[in-house]
Amino acid sequence: MIRLTNLYKIYNQSLQNEFVALKNINLHIKDKECVVLKGVSGSGKSTLLSIIGGMNKPTSGEALIENKAIAKLPDLHLSNFRAKSIGFVFQSFHLIENLSVYDNVTVPLIPHQKDTEQITQMVNNALQIIKIDHKKNDLAKNLSGGEKQRVAIARALVNNPNIILLDEPTANLDIANSQNLITILQDLKQLGKTVVIATHDTIFDDLDFVDKIVHIQNGEIVE
């Protein structure tokens, strides 16, 4: 469950270049819902996503994720929470180019001190769900955009988090790969994940499995 109440985010507060990225955001996303945050570039949807993901803190207001006030969590606890409960897929993937697909997906498991057998099982499982296991020994730099996207999703999934956040997931994909991504998102929803997508792409407008589309404009939710 994600519940945002009276949320504001102001960058460079009290400085000349102060910028209000989010204004009085009130949003409730239920478990296992798929929600699209829709808006043009600079509308605040990525900021909102990063606050939900615990990578950014609000200036004021409450962000309750899985009943935890994440804006209040000390850094150590926030990191642990993020590692366990959130999977984040970045717009530009952020893969480590010189590592293999397998190793890239292993990265989020490193702090958890799991044994090798467990790691192998979890990584293979994530790669199979996303259907990229046949590329597991390839270096990330040798993959196509669509494949990189899949690896990034597998990496977000490997810890089995309840919430998957995707920031502009189709920005670097062609139409065919975007369609593939939608299939993957549908699978994620069927797996019982809460999926939140920040995008400006119209491809997400008429999808059956999307429960809610939230329009964001100039940092505010508009009806």
Binding site: T5, N6, Q13, S60, E62, A69, A71, P74
Partner: protein, 322 residues
Amino acid sequence: MNNILLQNQVIINLSISFLTLLLLFGASIFGVYIYKNWDFNSTSNFQYNLEKKAYLIVLILFFALVVKIITLPYFAFTIDSLSDIVHGAMCAAGVVNANEYGYVLITLKLFIIFFVGSWLVINKIDIASINYPHIKTKLLFAFFIFLAVLCEFILEILYFTNISTETPVQCCSVIYGVSGNSDPLPFGIDTKTLLIVFYAILILSLSANLQKNPIFSFVASMMYLYFGYYALVYFFGTYIYQLPTHICPFCMLQKEYYFIGYILWGSLFLGTFFGIVNLILKTLIGQIIKRYFFYSTIFNTIFAIICTLYVVTYYIINGVFL
């Protein structure tokens, strides 16, 4: 200018003391501000900013207080090294005795270290929690430590500026020896009784730690510190120096004695600290850490074993006691 103030070690000591005092001053002032305005349940901009500031303030306090711990042995090393230029001083005992501030300063430093250690433990518990439950306590405690460190700095200045390199001082053999003006042993007891009391209190402290009773452990640890000091200086020390007339708490810090003093005093102070800290924790934050009783047992035992080994080794080699 006083020659003492031109010594590298003194300059380093005073500089570090001044810098840590400055850090503690800034952090404590902000700490009081945070203390007065803290409301963890609020989701206002003000509270979020306060939480960011608190993170930085606590980090500065942590750094400054860890530096205080690290500089304690360096202070011991400094006063020991000054014995080269203070007339009549052969070790730190003479230098400490060079004016009336020396022993007060050392005693205050020791208390501050115990306070600092307690603060670090509270901080560890607090940052491991999800809602900073002890932040107000630790900020107030930090302010109290700042005041103590301020007194310590003033005393340090008075101490170093009042050491004369021309007037001869009395050193350990006179200060602690039979001809000295200090009371040789507490309550007028003799060495044999002191030893019996020392080992009895060791057993008392081990038993207190076994029972995990903070009050009992506090009392036993303080007694162990008190009698451990006298036992080390007036009995075990003579076996370290292998000379019955050499009575000194500081010479054992020197290279000639393989710096064993650092280990002995270190284990005694650590044993005492872990023995007393649980009562401080219980008083301030209402909880204890049981493994600290075990640590106290370990350090107190190490202290007693090393001390005893010196006596046993001497007897095995020489066939007699001193």
